[in-house]
Every structure is written in structure tokens, then in C-alpha cells.
């Protein structure tokens, strides 16, 4: 585990949980472990900190989740061509610190690293989901409000999840990460029901914006490892940043990826342009005033209130990356994240499938 913590705070009601026991025994001896009456209070930003969001990334709170674990993808909306992704919230916030991360705005009011000790209750929700639509397959991921694997050497939650999904025919687990923390996964047999996905960026973006993440080559190498262990793999080129050398750099990244992972063994590649609300952009600029990538794509305000690279620039980058991928992998399932149906048509020359149909295609490969 390479992420440093100052303290682990365990909610009293979770004191006897398996997760608390695992964590308390696995953290480094210099990390203080304390018990608190209400984890929600401990997850709030600390007053007096110069950068409360950064400080919260060093405070791990083991607590009970009071809300449902399963939710629709927060990026989903009727105005976008979506992929039907469902999110399983087993944790919140992330010890890495990408300058563009939406969590800087999304969890600003409760930024502490939260891990939910009662995550096994999510299995009941998943059972209900599986029964709700017989014959339909669902892709369910834990990597939206947190990195799926960042703390896995401490929490080992992936083991329970992989084991659960291995027995469910119509559910596919997606573990999304920017780490190379795949040790627990390599000891399990996913029975084809777990996909591990990596967000990939060119080295230039990684060095400028993706603090404390694994280098792109290490992510690709980790993907090779889990692929050999029987997992499916996918990749998210998201956020794509349309800096002047982007077409070249993303093309090179794709070549590097396909040199290590045979494209026919990749379940999908998604693309999404950098998008930020003005409020998120303000926070990101304040926290990372020296990151030129936050400005490099000539982002302008769009109709949905988010700033993206102006449309022709963004569409051209999508199309160029699509062409680059299809040159080596003509049948690669590709999709766009948080883009309109018209953007989808521009890039792929066809109307987008429904979320359910696209989701089924991504689950099937």
C-alpha cells in the first residue's frame, strides 16, 4: 500500500466488523487508529486546513453506509448517450489527487476517505437487481466515487466482490483504477464475471495532472497481469485533454497499449473529453495553479453548464483516436462518456444504441 495515512477512524458501531479488524491489523504501526461515535462527522472537511480536501485524503474513516449502495452512474443523463453503467458505492474519495477530478466538487462537503464496513449489505441490493430484469445483464462498478483498488491491500474488499460476482450470470463487476494494486485479484478466479478497467492518459498528462497514480506503463502492465489471471480488461481514455500534441500522444499511448495487451482481448475502450463545471474548474485551478493541462484544451462553456474543449476540436480528437484504435482493432467496442447523441453520430457515424443495448454489448465481450 503506497498511500500514506495519518489516521484511521473507526465508527463505534463498526468496531466489530470484519473490515475494521482487517484494517486495524494491516495499517502501518505509525498510523493512529481511533474510534469515533459518528463517521459522518469525521468525514467532514477540517476547519483551519489550508487545503481541507488534500488533508482529508490522509484520513480513512471506516463507517456504516446509511444510503443505498447501488445507484445510477452520476455521469448519466437523458442529454447524453449513456452506457447503462451502475455504481456500487463501497467507498468515497480517493487517496490519489488528479487535478481534474470531479470529486473535488462532488464530495467537497465530506471529503474524508470513507470505506463502508457494511458493504456486504450491497449484495442484497444486487440480488434484487439481478431478479428485477431476468435475461438482462448489468455492469456494476465500484470506481466512480472512489478508486476501486487504491486501498485494496488494506481492505481486501475486492475479494468478497469478485467472489460474489463470480456466481452471478447476469452481473458483471467493473473495478476501475489508476493504480497497479492488483495483488488480491491475482489470487482469485473471477469466472469471467469481473472486468478490471484502467483510466489511461499519455505520460504528459500523467506527469502534469495525475498525482500519486501509477505511471501509464505500470497500469498497462497490471492489466496484462489480471488478464492472464482470467479477468476481463477495459480502458477509459477519459478525460481526453485536447492539448496541441494530443492526437500524437494518445495515438502513441494506444500503440503502447496494444503492444502489451492484444486488442482482441480488450472488452472495450471508452472516451470522454475533459469536462468541468465552472465551480470545479475554480477549485482545480486553486488547488493546482501550476497545471497547464487544466487550460490546454481551450475549454468553453457548453449548454449543460460544463466546460469542454470547443466542439470541433473535441470531435476531431475523438475521431482521430477512434481511427487509431480501429486501425489495429476494427471490432473494438468503443463508446463516449457524457457526450450527446449528436456527438456520438459525428464520431461513429451512427445513432447511439440505448443504454441497455450498449451496456449489454460491453458486458458481452
Amino acid at each position: 500500500m503506497k498511500f500514506e495515512l495519518d489516521v484511521v477512524l473507526i465508527e463505534e458501531r463498526c468496531r466489530s466488523s470484519a473490515l475494521a479488524a482487517r484494517l486495524a491489523s494491516a495499517v502501518a504501526p505509525e498510523v493512529e487508529v481511533r474510534y469515533v461515535p459518528d463517521g459522518r462527522e469525521s468525514a467532514r472537511p477540517l476547519a483551519g486546513e489550508r487545503d481541507p480536501f488534500a488533508a482529508a485524503k490522509r484520513r480513512l474513516v471506516v463507517m456504516e453506509r446509511r444510503a443505498p449502495f447501488l445507484m445510477g452512474c452520476p455521469a448519466g443523463s437523458a442529454e447524453f448517450a449513456c452506457c447503462g453503467y451502475l455504481v456500487l458505492v463501497t467507498a468515497s474519495n480517493c487517496p490519489m489527487d488528479c487535478s481534474y477530478c470531479f470529486l473535488q466538487e462532488y464530495v467537497a462537503d465530506n471529503p474524508g476517505l470513507q470505506v463502508y464496513a457494511n458493504y456486504a449489505a450491497a449484495f442484497d441490493e444486487l440480488e434484487r437487481l439481478g431478479r428485477s430484469a431476468p435475461g438482462r445483464s448489468f455492469r456494476v462498478g465500484t470506481g466512480e466515487l472512489a478508486d476501486s483498488l487504491a486501498f485494496d491491500t488494506l481492505t481486501a474488499i475486492s475479494r468478497d466482490l469478485v467472489e460474489y460476482f463470480a456466481q452471478r450470470e447476469n452481473l458483471l463487476l467493473e473495478l476501475k483504477t489508476k493504480t497497479d494494486e492488483v495483488g488480491n485479484l491475482l489470487t482469485m478466479d473471477p469466472c469471467g464475471r469481473t472486468l478490471v478497467s484502467w483510466t489511461l492518459s499519455p505520460t504528459r498528462v500523467y506527469e502534469s495532472s495525475e498525482h500519486r497514480t501509477a505511471p501509464p506503463a505500470a497500469r498497462i502492465e497490471a492489466a496484462r497481469g489480471v488478464l492472464e489471471a482470467g479477468y476481463k480488461v477495459g480502458f477509459h481514455l477519459d478525460p481526453l485533454i485536447a492539448y496541441p500534441e494530443a492526437e500524437h500522444d494518445y495515438g502513441e499511448l494506444i500503440e503502447n497499449l496494444f503492444d502489451v495487451i492484444p486488442p482482441q482481448r480488450i472488452s472495450f475502450v471508452s472516451m470522454g473529453g475533459l469536462r468541468m463545471t465552472p465551480a470545479l474548474r475554480a477549485v482545480a485551478r486553486r488547488r493546482f495553479p501550476g497545471d497547464p493541462m487544466l487550460l490546454a484544451g481551450e475549454e468553453v462553456l457548453g449548454r449543460d453548464g460544463r466546460m469542454r474543449s470547443f466542439t470541433p476540436l473535441r470531435m476531431r480528437l475523438f475521431a482521430s483516436i477512434r481511427a487509431r484504435i480501429e486501425r489495429r482493432a476494427p471490432k473494438m467496442p468503443l463508446y463516449l462518456c457524457m457526450e450527446s447523441a449528436s456527438a456520438y453520430e459525428r464520431v461513429f457515424g451512427a445513432t447511439p444504441a440505448t443504454p441497455a443495448a450498449l451496456g449489454a454489448r460491453l458486458v458481452g465481450r
Partner: protein, 180 residues
């Protein structure tokens, strides 16, 4: 210019222009050379408060993106031409902000220019207006027709039909069909 003099002139300018404290703090936090160059610009062009705030933000972003100092950006020939020009101060202040926008969004400005050239090249009759999305923030092309009477409306619709290929090309450019 001596450091103390620059700071007192900045404070005097800020007070006179009622510059909000947060922007004054940002200004004073700049490197000596940058804050002096900005002061020279503000004084010479008699920038209004809003223009100053916009210029400061654009300058900070251009400098960061291009790995250059603010003083360096203000020393670029296209900016110096405005600073040392002979027009009215308000006119040059407006030109400065426009030029900084071009520098901040060079590919956007080039793309808009190309689209405008295409639109002008169509030589559409008066009564038809082709409207590009603000800052090309979407791919929607709007075509407005203003007609008085059925005959004129029909004539304008026919004109649009005659120019369908050109209009289609503009719509495709909005979707990234051309190099940006």
C-alpha cells in the same frame, strides 16, 4: 522602477478603480517584473476594472499554458503594437482584451475565422443569417430567415436550398470535419 514605487502605484490604481481586494492580492503576488508590466498596461490603456480583471485572468492562463511570464506575454509584438499604438485608450483597451482572448484560445479563434470565411463565401441573400454556436460550445448550426411576405419567404427558402451543400459543409466543420 523601484519595488516600493510600483507597489504604491498599484495600490493607488486599485483604490481609484475600486478593484476588489482579492484581485489586488493576486496582482501584488505576481513576480516584480510581471506586476510592473501589468501596471504599465493598466495605466497606459486606462483599463476599466472589469477589463483589468479579465486581462489578468487571461494573462495568468496564457502564461501558465505557454510556460512564459506575464511580462513576456505583454512583450509579444502583437500586444506591444496595441500598447504603443496611437488610437484612443478605450479603443486600445478593448483591442488588448480581444488580442488576449485570441492568444488564450488560438485554435478556437482560427476555427471561428474559417467558419466565418465559409459563411461569407456562400454570399447568402439578406434575410438569411447563419448563426454559429457561442464559442463553438455545441455543434448546432442555426439558420435564421427573416421575410416579409410569402414571396420573399419562398425566395429565401430556395436560396437555402441552392446553398445546401455549402451549409452542410459548415455543419460538418462544426463537428470537426476539418483540421483544427
Amino acid at each position: 522602477m523601484n519595488v516600493g514605487t510600483v507597489e504604491s502605484r498599484i495600490r493607488a490604481w486599485a483604490e481609484k478603480r475600486r478593484l476588489p481586494e482579492a484581485h489586488l492580492v493576486r496582482w501584488l503576488a505576481l513576480a516584480q517584473e510581471d506586476r510592473a508590466a501589468l501596471l504599465e498596461t493598466a495605466e497606459r490603456l486606462r483599463l476599466r476594472t472589469g477589463q483589468f480583471v479579465t486581462a489578468l485572468e487571461l494573462l495568468e492562463e496564457i502564461a501558465l499554458r505557454d510556460g512564459e511570464s506575464i511580462a513576456g506575454v505583454l512583450a509579444r509584438s502583437e500586444i506591444r503594437r496595441i500598447l504603443e499604438g496611437t488610437g484612443s485608450a478605450p479603443g486600445r483597451a478593448h483591442s488588448l482584451v480581444e488580442q488576449l482572448r485570441v492568444a488564450r484560445f488560438p485554435r478556437l479563434k482560427r476555427t471561428i475565422e474559417r467558419l466565418r470565411t465559409e459563411i461569407v463565401g456562400l454570399a447568402l441573400p439578406p434575410g438569411i443569417r447563419v448563426v454559429l454556436p457561442v464559442d463553438l460550445g455545441s455543434d448546432e448550426l442555426r439558420i435564421e430567415i427573416r421575410a416579409n411576405g410569402g414571396a420573399e419567404l419562398e425566395r429565401l427558402i430556395c436560396a437555402i436550398d441552392r446553398h445546401a451543400a455549402g451549409l452542410r459543409r459548415i455543419a460538418e466543420m462544426l463537428g470537426g470535419a476539418d483540421e483544427v
